[in-house]
Assembly symmetry: C2
Homo-oligomer: 358 residues x 2
Amino acid sequence: MDIREIARKAKVSTATVSRAINRVPTVDPQLSKRVWKVVDELGYYPNTQARALVLGRSRIFGLIVSEITNPFFPEIVQTFENLAVENNYEILLTSTVHDPKRMESSVRRMIERRVDGVAILTFGMEESLIEHLRFRKVPLVFVDVGPDVAGIANIRINYQNGIRQAVQHLAALRHTRIAFVAGPLQLKSAMARREAFKASMTEIGLPPDLIVVGDHRMEGGMQALLELNRLSNRPTAVLCSNDMTAIGVMREAYDQNIRIPDDLSVVGFDDIRLAEFTIPPLTTVQMSQHELAKIAFQALLNEVACESPGHEHHKYELTTSLVLRRSTALARAGRSLTMPPKGGRARGSRKTPASALR
Amino acid sequence: MDIREIARKAKVSTATVSRAINRVPTVDPQLSKRVWKVVDELGYYPNTQARALVLGRSRIFGLIVSEITNPFFPEIVQTFENLAVENNYEILLTSTVHDPKRMESSVRRMIERRVDGVAILTFGMEESLIEHLRFRKVPLVFVDVGPDVAGIANIRINYQNGIRQAVQHLAALRHTRIAFVAGPLQLKSAMARREAFKASMTEIGLPPDLIVVGDHRMEGGMQALLELNRLSNRPTAVLCSNDMTAIGVMREAYDQNIRIPDDLSVVGFDDIRLAEFTIPPLTTVQMSQHELAKIAFQALLNEVACESPGHEHHKYELTTSLVLRRSTALARAGRSLTMPPKGGRARGSRKTPASALR
DNA sequence: ATGAAAGCGCTAACAG
DNA sequence: CTGTTAGCGCTTTCAT
């Protein structure tokens, strides 16, 4: 079933069918109605491939994320998809799993499908691949880590803001030994977070020396706490490069009977939905997934609309800020991290969490 | 840049370029090399749209899930995507968020893009939409809930197996007041789980009367425990229709100082990755996301390969089974759910979890 | 306002 | 083994 069949049954030309379907205003209402009637009766759906071929625009956006299984991303994908359907776009999703081969094949596939633009939320990617895209003038939107050239929109993230708040919150709670569990350092975003931590600590005269590196996954968080506990000078608070890491830290703490927040304060980063449901609920730095997705999509839309005339303000920014929940508390003076409580206490009598300070 | 340009520069016909690119064996190695050289030099990527148009096959599969933000699905999407790239397929993802409008638009878009098949993992969908797909002879794969007709593959899930194990595990731990937090009952999968629970309880002579309905999300789990606690005859164990619900239940328990598993045993369903990292780690019924995705993809591949000759065994099955972790324990004789422990105890001295029985 | 026809980039007969 | 050519289904001039 194709446009010709519709034309035949409606006794008009294919051009008219095309016009009617695309709601070209000049077409006679009579004819238009006739066409639509046949279309509905036969259940005709135009072939997007053919349309894309002639139009030269596919109405497909590529979306590259680093790991769809990291709860940070599904929210983004959902928002992105919502916007896509609203705007009659399709989205081609790739979860690279940090695999360079995967990134490469993903870029190739997107070029082959002639996407109208791609949003790269992978926080780190080969220059050469980007070159491929740029070479074909595919509009690009980066988070954090795009080259600073025309035709590429960059969404800068203000990590410093949220991380400073987190550090100062901890310091206000009288923590002085504050550790940081970093993410994989080849990720620019992880690097940026670590630097923000260092700066924030230095700023208030605390040595940023308790840094251990994780992998932005729960396993890495568990491992990290293990390492931290081997230190002679154990931290009383730990700030994590993302929420998954924090969940791992809390899980390991549970295994070791380290109570949170009583014995150890922990702060995450990202504010994934789950953060509200961890035990205890996680104090974390919010980086709105919804906002991020919205900005990324809008940026893409702008890029494709602009079509390269006077380049608009291809700069976007997202800020971060601390959200207080119940995983932080006042540092206990002179208390060693893993020493069991003198007289055991039921959970019911746990110390007031810092959130009571709000 | 198109195939003609390559042909010109390689001094061959477009047909030869096409053959070389598609590795037709009959083409002269000399020419082939010449073609590939030009292709690589110019960075030529064939236009998939045009190819799809003439081939009549898009090499795109649709994947419809109910909520990408439910951690059950990202794993499936990842596996599905892995298989897709391996087999040179693209995937068009839709997360319906249980919105009928969304399902409809998603089906429309998939038809317009001429997908080669679609996997519906949404556990419940309008008949009429399915009819649209069937009408166009789009190969379909369902989980749970497909009509039993030719051209539609069904993946049946054996809920009974895992749920029976869960119920019997709880019963063996001397629980007699076992509650069930169901999912949204318009979902066939949620319905099936509830029925399996009822059957399993009845089987061992326990009344399946403590049933409350949630929404398969964490909020619903919290709400459910609240309801359960209003009952005069409170449960000592609760089986949840999915893991997110269980996480909600545990979170509410935390708020109410109900200790898990000491005061309340909880069992989930799905075995999402997170289940290993909850506090305490969640005993749950496993329904392998990886297997499910593999089966679904393979089924799709079969359907499109078959092309409707002697219909193969378009039946697939996935079984479920209990995995023991630390969220269940022996029922305490005659203990009321929320009564605080007589002499408070530190977490360190908590009761041996059921997992020690393994 | 409508129709005839060219062409988007590719593949596959068919002919040589 | 290679080239010529006719479409795949659609949009869009260009006439009418």
